[in-house]
Symmetry: C2
Subunit: 350 residues, 2 copies
């Protein structure tokens, strides 16, 4: 397995990316290709105390960097020698099995969609993080790649999320829920009401284990394995979980810092505190899979540190090994069949 | 001040409603009118050890109860002798200053809109809970009354939420944020993009302190006083905060329950644990104001216990004393002026 890493993307690039790659090579025995300015990367390695490229680590030069100031839709074309564009071209050419970037989400999404392309028949790629929930995490699909969705997109997200929960998280017959403001089929906006019917039909046909609408509270508590949402609502959900985790983490920290006795208490429950933190730790997950693209692509957090990069690399080869994309590819006809059967007219318009 | 309470609405009615009313009369010196089946209420009082109606507590008989099986849109008309309908008619007639119900949200919303009516010029009433955030709570408007919204609704929600934060929470020049998936004006769906322009204009004209889009994470952390959202997204936000609070609360509980030493730790930080719980305690808030209605109406949680009912009653008279509705009424023309200036065509269609 070989993972291609955009060494220049992210707030802490290239240092965290390089260190994360070094860790991954050592820890997982995976090969890593760092893509970025060769001179800078060699200096960075030197700064980290590495004089010679270790076995399993390669550098491919790319002279440009896509920044937050670049137009995400066109950046990869205007900067053909960017680490993002060169990295994806390497992926397309078969020089690696997965691609990881902590750079601009929009630029990665555009570039992956237009250079690496979606699985044929998939209408939109979606960002599908594994969010912390009471049942050990759930796949949230989409969380921001597509602010506006059609019922058809959501149907495809449901299938892709279900395959992901099966292949990557190892869930059997994953429970798929539609994120909504009540459990009744009549709840939500037109989008949820229409999507509900499609998912119900997919469940009847045996393709999905659709358990109905899921309210955000129950989704966090862990009643489903896959949370289907448009990118706007999914992003609100994800960021709210993160915000609440931070707020309550800070509250807990304050609780232990009051005086000597509370500090003693912190020592007594230090394992518990570590578990509490781990529950909400974005770095431990590493990144978010971009599902629907024809090859494994992982978006790492913009603020990724070396641990997050290392974990995103692990996620990259796990995704490549999982056979998820083959599964999606094999079932696209099925999703399409569903689609044409269920919503003939609205599909023809789209 | 006199608060009318739907004694029959809610999972724990009438017992919790009656006990909550007793507490409120005693604690706040407020008068309370309990509306419900007289016989049942008298027996309930007896069961609580109260033989004679205490000063400040009245009972008004209403022989019917609206249940979750009734159609929320028409229940108040079909059951004219229900505690909900009778209670709102009392409010309309001036027999009390505010109305509290823990019954069906949909039924309350329909009944309040059609019996008590909206403030003239306000297009939609909104549910506006104060959600737990890092800055001591923020007004979330709407959280589920209107799954689908127009930019005009959101503009009015922004104004109403801002007045609420000022009058009830005592915030000076409340910071108003539009719940979105990024801070740039181009983020979100068409709804957010259009609303952004309206809010920006309202800010320029001095009517609002609009600080721009706010991401869910920052909203939870407490960067704004008012979070403006359509009912679908607002509900996802609110329920996610609640779910994360429950999940992390449970995690913390587990952390202290492991062994004797961790139980000792719990004793050492017991004040902190209480504060942690209080931060996410829905009962402490009591209920959610239904803003935009021409009289103060509070929706208490369906699962309200006596503490929640007591606090919802407090919220009711606080709202009545605040002058919020007068403020909204006085400024409706202003909101309308904005509206016509900014989005003439789309308004005419609606």
């Amino acid at each position: 397995m070989k993972v291609i890493v955009d060494a220049m993307g992210g707030d802490n690039a290239p240092r965290s990316n390089v260190q994360g790659a070094l860790n991954a090579v050592k820890k997982y025995g995976v090969d890593v290709v760092l893509v970025g300015d060769g001179q800078i990367l060699l200096e960075c390695l030197k700064g980290l105390g590495v004089e010679n490229l270790p076995k399993g680590l390669e550098i491919v030069h790319a002279g440009e960097v896509i920044t937050m100031e670049d137009d995400p839709a066109t950046a990869f074309r205007r900067k053909k020698d960017s680490s993002l564009t060169v990295g994806l071209e390497l992926l397309n050419g078969g020089a690696g099995d997965a691609f990881v970037s902590a750079g601009s989400t929009g630029a990665l999404l555009s570039a992956a969609t237009l250079l690496t392309k979606r699985v044929k028949g998939i209408r939109r790629a979606a960002l599908a993080p594994v969010v912390p929930t009471g049942n050990g995490g759930a796949v949230l699909i989409d969380c921001g790649a597509n602010a506006e969705c059609t019922p058809e997109y959501l149907l495809q997200f449901a299938y892709m999320g279900s395959f992901y929960a099966q292949k990557v998280l190892g869930r059997q017959a994953p429970k798929v829920g539609l994120l909504n403001i009540g459990v009744e089929p009549s709840k939500g906006t037109g989008l949820q009401k229409e999507t509900y019917l499609l998912l119900e039909e997919a469940d009847r046909s045996g393709g999905l284990n659709f358990v109905g609408n899921v309210e955000a509270r129950e989704a966090v508590e862990g009643t489903v394995d896959v949370i289907v949402a448009d990118g706007y609502a999914g992003n609100i959900f994800l960021k709210t979980v993160e915000g609440a985790g931070k707020l309550l983490g800070r509250q807990m920290k304050g609780m232990f810092k009051k005086n000597l006795l509370t500090k003693l208490a912190a020592v007594l429950v230090k394992d518990g505190i570590r578990e509490f933190k781990a529950l909400m730790d974005a770095d431990a997950v590493g990144g978010t899979a971009l599902i629907g693209i024809s090859k494994p692509v992982i978006k790492a957090h913009g603020s990724s540190n070396e641990v997050a990069i290392q974990n995103a690399i692990r996620q990259g080869f796990t995704l490549a090994q999982s056979g998820l994309i083959d599964d999606i590819t094999a079932h696209v006809g099925y999703m399409s069949m569903e689609r044409e059967k269920m919503c003939g007219e609205s599909v023809e318009k789209s």
